[in-house]
């Protein structure tokens, strides 16, 4: 099956991973309700490279991947820089 490279564990079969969805931009706290509702349901769904969250289940490693959503090519994977 497809391989995905965990930044910590290296290439693993994709069934060791859980898809956590696209990286979504933040919305400002001052945005009105309608904008918040749209933001909640907004889809990141363009055909092309997309940055998304993945989790390697056995090691509980959460990381980011950039993957082309048409060719399914994984361009890179990396551990996130958190913004605490």
């Amino acid at each position: 099956m497809k391989l995905l490279t965990c930044p910590l564990n290296g290439p693993r079969n994709i069934d060791e991973f859980q898809y956590l969805g696209p990286l979504r931009p933040e919305l400002s706290k001052d945005a009105p309700d309608a904008a918040w509702a749209v933001h909640l349901f907004r889809a990141e769904n363009r055909p092309g490279p997309m940055v998304e969250w993945w989790r390697h289940t056995p090691s509980n490693t959460v990381f980011l991947a950039e993957r082309h959503t048409v060719t399914d090519t994984v361009l890179r994977t990396w551990l996130p820089e958190p913004d605490a």
């Binding site: 099956m1 497809k2 391989l3 859980q18 956590l20 706290k29 309700d33 918040w36 509702a37 909640l40 969250w53 989790r55 289940t57 509980n60 959460v62 990381f63 399914d72 996130p80 820089e81 958190p82 913004d83 605490a84």
Partner: protein, 938 residues
Amino acid sequence: MMRLPAPFGTRIDRARPVTFRFEGRAVQGFAGETIASALAAQGQMMLSRSFKYHRPRGAFGLAGAEANTLVQVGAEPNVQADLRNVAEGLEVSAQNVAGSLAFDRTAAIGLFARFLPVGFYYRTFMGPSRQAWLRFWEPRIRALAGLGRVDPAARFPEGEKGHLHCDLLVVGAGPAGLAAAELAARGGADVVLCDVGPEPGGTMCHTPKGAAGPPEGLRVMTGATCTGWFADNWLSVVQGGMLWRVRAGQVILAVGGIEQPAVFRNNDLPGILSAGAVQRLIRLYGVMPGRRAVVLAGTPEGLDAAEALTAAAIPVAAIVLPRPLPGHEARIAALSAEVISGRIDEADGRGRVARVRVGNRWISCDILAVAVGQAPAWQLPCQAGATLGHDTAAGRFTLRLDRPGVHLAGTVNGYAGHAAAIADGRRAGQAALRALGLPAADEPAAIETAPKDPDAALAFWHQPLAPDPRGKDFVDFDEDLQVADLVNAVAEGYRELELVKRFSTVGMGPSQGRHSALATARIVAEATAREVAEVGVATARPPAMPEALGTLAGHGHTAERRTALHARHLALGADMRPVGAWWRPYLYGAGDRAARIAEEVAAVRGGVGLLDVSTLGKLEVRGPDAGEFLDRLYTMAHGTQPVGRVRYCLMLNEMGAVVDDGVALRLADDRFYVTSTTGAVARVYADMALWNAQWGLRVDVANLTGAFAGLNITGPRARAVLAALPGDIDFSGDAFPYLSGRCGVVAGVPVRAMRIGFTGELSYELHCPASLAPALWDAVMAAGEVRPYGLEASRILRLEKGHILIGQDTDALSSPDELGMAWAVSSKKPFFVGKRSVEMRRRLGVARRLVPLAFPAGTRGLGESCLVLADGVPAGHLTSVALSPTLGHPIALAWVPAGLAMPGTRVTVRARDGAVVTGDVAGHAFYDAGNTRQEVQK
């Protein structure tokens, strides 16, 4: 008998005769041969009846590429007789016949063939009434459809699965594959070579082109069919009942070609065989295909067949040459057969070919050997991304594959000649070594990058494909489609290849276009004035060869999870039921279920009960930011939660929907022990990791769900029982108040003890390492008065207190306001997941509420999901409902419109039997609304 003496029959073991039955008659064959060859040795060429017209059919290619050879073997349908070996006692019969293979009554359909054009079923069977299709026509058509038969009583062994890793997988052990594999192995690659045949060699096995010794230094899998290529060089190889999943660094597809049929009137008669099939019968199985042959030598392979026939002392009545074969004159002369220029225009015979016509001339024969050329076996290459082209001059398909890591070699790569195929194999092997970063096995100069292939010019004969006015010139044997059918499909407007396919069903049968795709593309190109390459073929999809569901399923074990107390429950006669993957006790003991459940409830309310809660999620959250972390994830305030206190925790998602609940015990400033529902913990654990990847708080989460067990001891006698056990925890009311937690030892077992609510009685939950749980359970039970209780009682106890069950009383969108849980939502915290949505949804207005409903004693027919009606229209439903043994009447939680949510409101419900009943909205809890019993100090 049509058997040839040794040395013919390299695969059969004459010392081991095998007897099986075909159509009720005993047949004797030899170990090592196929059902089809054993039958051919008896002169039985007819194996099946065609799908639509029930015409007699036999093998054409004898290579597992057609539906003509599908037979029923015992309980197994659609067995390829040309691939399945004989075995003692097999019961083989024809499929889809009314009567027998020899006398199939359904063949009468053939008389009406001209009334059944392509797609005829779309034009009719619609009337006279609307129900005509469903009630009359469809059952009849369904009865005619299908080939073999499944037997619901059949038992098949479970398939096995395995994994293989290698540097290089070579698919196909013909000349090119062997050359590639051996070269790569010599170069130091870890090579696996697989082939469908029982021995390596491919076409070399049945032609006198040169035998190969067994390849060395690599793993060889025989009887192994590579059925699929998937991303990152993950391939499926089926060997017997075993599914191998192969991860290969590099892949070489040396899968050869598929001999194509000649298209002419009655080209489907048994006895019309490909040149390869004739040679396989003679050389591999020692079978005389017939007694008098005609050879259609559109390509030199026809001469190979003629030579094999001659060697087997079968007279070749004529060699029909549609075109000259320069360079092969000597061979033709040596065959001493009459050479006729022309093509086969028609065949004739009843159940088997008896004569063929070239121009005006009929020639009698019982075998026609056909050589018109091969199509490259495009299935696997196209799965791997190869594009199919067409060399118009040569009239054949070509393949081009640009995917790194996958290579084509040999015939599939367009090389017709034996030496050329070998050279191309070596090229591919060298390319694979280079890609693997291994040193070249041979000098680059010794590798031909574009091998010369003098045989290529004659490899394919561009046979004419005009429709015969009298028809029966089959393009697709599986679907009984003639040339005119495809032409007519195009005429109807189905001009795209995929539309021709779907409208006519060409290529949709078991052979998936192996024998029809090339001719179809040419016919459609001609009919639509386009190039063949532009028309193309239908998308190649896995599997490249049919795969049994049993092989794909393997053992298919369902995982079961058991708590550490499983044996205790069984010993107590528990009714164990699956809850997800876990097994949990629903109730204990035999007898009237309702009565026993009521007893368990009463035991808890009046005495003390014991519940195994080990399946609960348990998460340890630790680190300097643990409090902040929980503050952000849950709705209540945990950052300020004192050490030793237990607090209810409610988790929302970003939409403000409740997704989980539990309790959190603060063990230290930087340590919390948090419970989660059985069903949600895996998701919660993942979400915690995702959130913190974004927040970067100094916190770590451990999932202890399986490591720890949990016992819930609840009832007015709970404290007395626990206090009587040896240990260092003071269970007295002052020392251990409601919603606090203590760590210590009870009956020799280290525990985390929490005093909580939920059941409405004095309640303690003890969590301990799972392996020690049985000892703790035994210690508690030894008190003598403790009553184990199960999930059914537990639900009633909780419902009597109005507690929600996540996933039952909540749905994908239910917010705390809708659930009446605004009390659990902090208004002070600046942020928690879902806060924004909760506030927004509050502003939009809360339209529905989950409320407790009390029904009059004796109300019948209430069940979960019964509808709440407002003015006769569904406006909600019951989510939980039970007859409360404590209160003596039915109680429920239900969704109602917000306007009906005030306590005291009368609500209408439709019972399961349709009767309309009413209940009243109650206050928060039905039982002990003041919570005095669960919060009791003394």
